[in-house]
């Protein structure tokens, strides 16, 4: 019952969360575009996933792509891993955290018992 409530809440909350994320990212990129100079520190970053099914991987990959500032470049299913091109990766831990946060939200919706605990937050360079 709590799971159901939690998922319902997440489903309702998620668009706002994601929309906010998109708007903020858009503004950041737009600022870069519209003003001289750039704060960008681009990189291709490897992101291990907790997602397991094709649907989960696809959803997270697409959400990343739709967020201005990040783009999914490559996918591996075993183990599930994404390679992402990020514009603002100067603080890589924060960068990863934002993505994992989004993943957790998603898995919270797709899985009956919520997102699994993240064991390995360190990402190999």
């Amino acid at each position: 019952m709590t799971d159901l409530l939690r998922r319902t809440a997440l489903i309702v909350w998620f668009p706002f969360f994601y929309g906010f994320r998109v708007v903020v990212s858009s503004l950041r990129v737009a600022w870069d575009i519209l003003t001289p100079g750039s704060a960008a520190a681009p990189a291709f970053v490897e992101v291990p996933l907790n997602a397991r099914t094709d649907l989960e991987v696809t959803a997270i990959a697409n959400m990343i792509s739709l967020t201005p500032g990040t783009f999914t470049m490559a996918t591996r299913l075993d183990p599930p891993t994404l390679w992402i091109h990020g514009l603002y990766t100067a603080h890589e831990q924060d960068f990863l955290h934002e993505i994992h946060q989004m993943e957790d939200y998603l898995l919270g919706i797709t899985r009956p018992h919520g997102a699994p605990a993240r064991t390995d937050t360190e990402v190999p360079r």
Binding site: V57, T58, A74, T75, R76, L77, T81, W83
Partner: protein, 944 residues
């Protein structure tokens, strides 16, 4: 009746000879000779009636009655004379041939000789200009074949002869048509009495000129004389018949036939006399200088024909009498000589005077026969040739056309006659009495058999007998000349006319000839000299090759497979057309309403941007994308113009074009070919005016009238006519379903030909950009990396399918319909193809050609059902009661649309599957990269 019978029998004989010659071999000549002799007899017995002033025989069978052209035959005295010659000589030549050839099949020879006899008889009997022309050309064709029968070496002479005589034939055709158009009839007998001849001298002269060309080419007159010796490549019987007695006489006949028309025409008379005598002279001169007996005889023929033409040119009844008599005489002695040459050749294996001599001892009969004929030719009494030649002299002396012609004619005639004497002597003496210079190989020839000698003996003796009894010929010659002049003629042929200028000329010719013989050794040496510097055949070949060179030049500009050159010309034509219209074209009314809105500039700007950039970019991909943009902008235009269905279709087509283009572009280099700046300028110089022309056409020729009647009918009646509210769709599936059926077929065929061409030619190997990331890079792996696409496609594909069915169903009433729906459905397959992780997975294992065919078949069957209501593609309607109440309006137009749908889907599948293959040709030929036909292409390449 006799006339038709003659032609019918000759046709039968021709067919008969074709059949019989396969079994009888050379002996076919005997029955043919007999049959021709019988026909000669049939004609001969009609003679006395004609001589006694009986009417000409006539017969007529319609052929092209609407043109007034028929098998109109007429035998007057002139035709009778020639008819007897043609058939009689034909019979003798056939008899000769039966022994002349070595044993073996002669099917072609006998058939063609019979056909020739038919053609020649038809020619002289024709009383219809067109018919005359037909037979005239038939003799040419027969001659061509008969010469060619003599093997490869004769091929070129045959062609030369054919072309030259065909030239004359065309002149005759022009004359025929001119006369026909002018007089409104093709009846020769009527035309010759037409007042035009005297009333319109210009016209008469034009026709005369054309007839002259015909006559001169056929009768080997200068400057066309050279074909006759050239044609001696033919076998001897052919030479004897065609090139001595019959075909060359066709020209003489024609000239005689047209004499009444040109009696008062100065051009006609002068030309005939001048050129005839020139021919007589140079023919005789050349004859004197030949070593080959056959060539000598041929030139002698040329020369004698010159006499004939000249005397016809005089045009008086007396002249025509001479012509008729000399025609007969010449036929007899010339046939004899040719046959004698054949016999000599047959016995000794050579015709070269330098290798012959003293044959009189071993071949007395041949010698006697030849001597008789040669004496007749030389004009020695008491032979027929003497009488006829004297008449020719007499007539020439009385030329009336120009004052200077008489003396000229007299001198030329005497000189030519003297030369004739000389070469006649040279022929006979050199062969039969001169020093024996035979090769051992040809030593001791034996006299030919009686059967071979039969024909020449007959003709030679005829020359003697008729010479001795020449007055007997009077009525016959009289009638012939009368019919040739349409005036009374009185003939008094005799060996002795008393002392008159003609006799003097004869004597002078004989004396001069004798003198020439005395210096014959000089003649021999003369023969070695290269004279004249130009040979007729060389001139012909030169003209021939000039024409061919001109042809090569003319063909050069088009001799390229590069489309550009073939495409530029139409564009230039359009520009020219538009420019002319801009200058001389009509004015235009005012526009029927506002022609632009502010928003219109949006698609216009987009299109301009797209076009400008597409033109300048060298990147194929950029060009493709930009063309796509122009398509989208065009779709915006369609939206602006209230054409939603069109816009939808345009969009779908644009996208699918891109999809297919991508399949192709990845096989090609990344960039377009580099072009020189000059080319860009030249192209722009065509492109910009073309654009201006198109824009101007669009502006001035459209939008200036009120809505059309058909448009108003459609908008008013569509619902009640068809039950549909989307008028565009009702036009497609109801009113103009035939267009749609055609369009559907076009699309389906496109699918089929894509398969067909790839099956036979294969695809270009993959080119374009190759991936540079290596296989170990995680981005390489196709299975893992396509998971996103595949997952999304799994959702999208069903959506597309549902949407496409929805569009199909609603099409009659709202934007949609079979095509749009089919394209959406096709997109679903395209998506499946694109999102698959490998080409082999992507392959759609549906029988797509069958889907195409089924689609077309559905539409067709739907159309055929319409016959139930009276017409193909007539939609049938039914209101189906629904179980929950109400009615569903069903129309077969919907079924038609299903056919459309299937076809579209089938074609999309085809394109994806065929072009989407990783490499190589069609599925059946997967194992080989390049099909065999390509590899061996150079072997069958053909043109440059």
């Amino acid at each position: 009746m006799l006339l038709l019978l003659l032609l019918a029998l000759l046709t039968v004989i021709t067919v008969f000879s074709f059949v019989i010659a396969r079994f009888a071999g050379r002996a076919t000549g005997w029955p043919l000779a007999a049959m021709l002799a019988l026909l000669t007899l049939l004609v001969l017995v009609r003679g006395p009636d004609l001589w006694n002033g009986g009417p000409a025989l006539e017969a007529s069978v319609p052929w092209m009655p609407s043109l007034g052209v028929g098998l109109n035959l007429r035998m007057d005295g002139l035709a009778w004379l020639f008819c007897v010659l043609v058939l009689g000589v034909g019979a003798l030549v056939m008899a000769y041939s039966a022994r002349y050839f070595p044993p073996g099949r002669r099917t072609g020879f006998y058939t063609l000789m019979s056909a020739f006899a038919l053609a020649m008889t038809g020619l002289v009997l024709a009383d219809d200009l067109v018919l005359l022309f037909v037979f005239w050309e038939l003799t040419t064709i027969c001659s061509f074949y008969l010469i060619g029968l003599s093997g490869p070496a004769a091929a070129r002479p045959a062609v030369r002869t054919f072309l030259l005589t065909a030239l004359g034939g065309l002149a005759l055709l022009a004359a025929v048509v001119l006369l026909w158009v002018r007089t409104g009839t093709t009846r020769i007998s009527v035309i010759l009495d037409d007042p035009t001849w005297t009333q319109d001298t210009g016209f008469a002269t034009l026709v005369a000129a054309l007839v002259v060309v015909a006559v001169f080419t056929k009768s080997a007159q200068f400057p066309f004389h050279y074909w006759l010796p050239d044609a001696m490549a033919a076998s001897t019987p052919v030479s004897a018949y065609l090139h001595a007695a019959a075909m060359v006489k066709a020209g003489v006949y024609l000239a005689m036939r047209f004499s009444p028309a040109f009696a008062d025409n100065a051009f006609w008379g002068t030309t005939l006399i001048v050129f005839g005598l020139t021919t007589a002279l140079i023919g005789a001169l050349f004859a004197l200088r030949r070593h080959d007996l056959k060539e000598l005889t041929a030139y002698s023929t040329v020369s004698q024909l010159g006499f004939l033409i000249a005397v016809i040119g005089v045009g008086t009844p007396q002249a025509l009498i001479a012509a008729a008599a000399h025609t007969l005489a010449h036929a007899l002695f010339k046939v004899t000589l040719f046959m004698a040459v054949g016999v000599i050749d047959n016995r000794t294996g050579t015709r070269d005077l330098r290798r012959l001599g003293g044959l009189a001892r071993t071949m007395p009969v041949t010698a006697a026969v030849t001597a008789l004929a040669a004496l007749s030719m030389a004009g020695v009494p008491p032979l027929l040739g003497f009488v006829s030649k004297e008449n020719v002299f007499e007539a020439l002396l009385h030329t009336t056309h120009q004052p200077w012609i008489g003396p000229f004619a007299a001198i030329a005639a005497v000189l030519a006659a003297a030369l004739t004497v000389a070469y006649s002597f040279r022929f006979v003496y050199g062969t039969f009495w001169g020093a024996q210079r035979r090769d051992p190989a040809t030593e001791r020839p034996r006299e030919a058999g009686a059967l071979l000698l039969f024909a020449p003996v007959v003709t030679a003796s005829a020359g003697l007998i008729l010479g001795l009894s020449v007055p007997l010929l009077d009525p016959m010659i009289e009638r012939a000349a009368a019919d040739a002049t349409h005036a009374d003629a009185e003939a008094h042929l005799a060996l002795w006319h008393g002392l008159n200028p003609a006799l003097g000329m004869s004597a002078l010719a004989l004396i001069l000839g004798a003198l020439l013989i005395r210096v014959s050794s000089a003649g021999e040496r003369l023969a070695e000299r290269r004279f004249p510097p130009v040979r007729g055949t060389a001139v012909f070949e030169r003209i021939h090759s000039v024409v061919i060179a001109l042809g090569v030049r003319v063909g050069d500009p088009t001799r390229t497979d590069a489309p550009t050159r073939h495409l530029a010309v139409p564009f230039v034509l359009i520009i020219v057309f538009a420019s002319v219209m801009a200058v001389v074209g009509p004015g235009h009314g005012p526009p029927a309403g506002p022609t632009s809105r502010a928003l219109d500039w949006l698609p216009l700007v987009l299109i301009t941007a797209a076009v400008l950039t597409a033109v300048v970019t060298r990147s194929r991909m950029a060009a493709l994308a930009l063309i796509g943009l122009s398509g989208f902008a065009t779709a915006v235009w369609f939206v602006f113009l209230g054409a939603i269905d069109v816009a939808l279709t345009q969009l779908l087509v644009e996208i699918l074009t891109v999809v297919v283009a991508v399949l192709v572009l990845r096989r090609l280099p990344t960039e377009f070919h580099r072009a020189r700046p000059s080319r860009a300028v030249a192209t722009a110089a065509i492109a910009i005016p073309a654009g201006v022309a198109a824009g101007a056409g669009a502006y001035f020729l459209t939008g200036r009238r009120e809505p059309s009647a058909v448009s108003e009918h459609l908008l008013e009646n569509a619902v009640q006519d068809t039950g549909g509210t989307n008028v565009v769709n009702t036009v497609l599936v109801d009113y103009r379903a035939l267009d749609t059926l055609g369009e559907l077929t076009v699309l389906g065929v496109a699918g089929l030909i894509i398969i067909a061409v790839l099956h036979s030619a294969g695809l270009t190997a993959m080119g374009g950009t190759r991936p540079s990331a290596s296989h170990t890079n995680p981005i390489w792996d196709a299975d893992d990396n396509t998971v996103i696409m595949r997952t999304v496609a799994r959702v999208l594909i069903p959506l597309l399918m549902v949407w496409s069915v929805y569009l199909l169903m609603r099409g009659h009433n709202a934007p949609g319909g079979g095509f749009i729906a089919g394209l959406v459905g096709g997109s679903a397959f395209a998506l499946a193809y694109l999102s698959a992780s490998s080409a082999s997975v992507a392959r759609i294992r549906l029988a797509y050609p069958a889907i195409i065919a089924a689609g077309i078949l559905v539409a067709l069957v739907c159309g055929l059902l319409g016959f139930a209501d009276g017409s193909f593609l007539r939609p049938l309607h039914a209101d189906i009661a629904l179980p929950w109440g109400g009615h569903y309006h069903f129309t077969t137009a919907l079924v038609f649309d299903v056919g459309v749908y299937l076809t579209v889907v089938g074609v999309m599948l085809t394109a994806l599957n065929q072009l989407g293959l990783p490499k190589g040709p069609g599925p059946e030929a997967d194992e080989q990269d390049v099909p065999e036909s390509i590899r061996h292409e150079s072997a069958t390449g053909g043109t440059r």
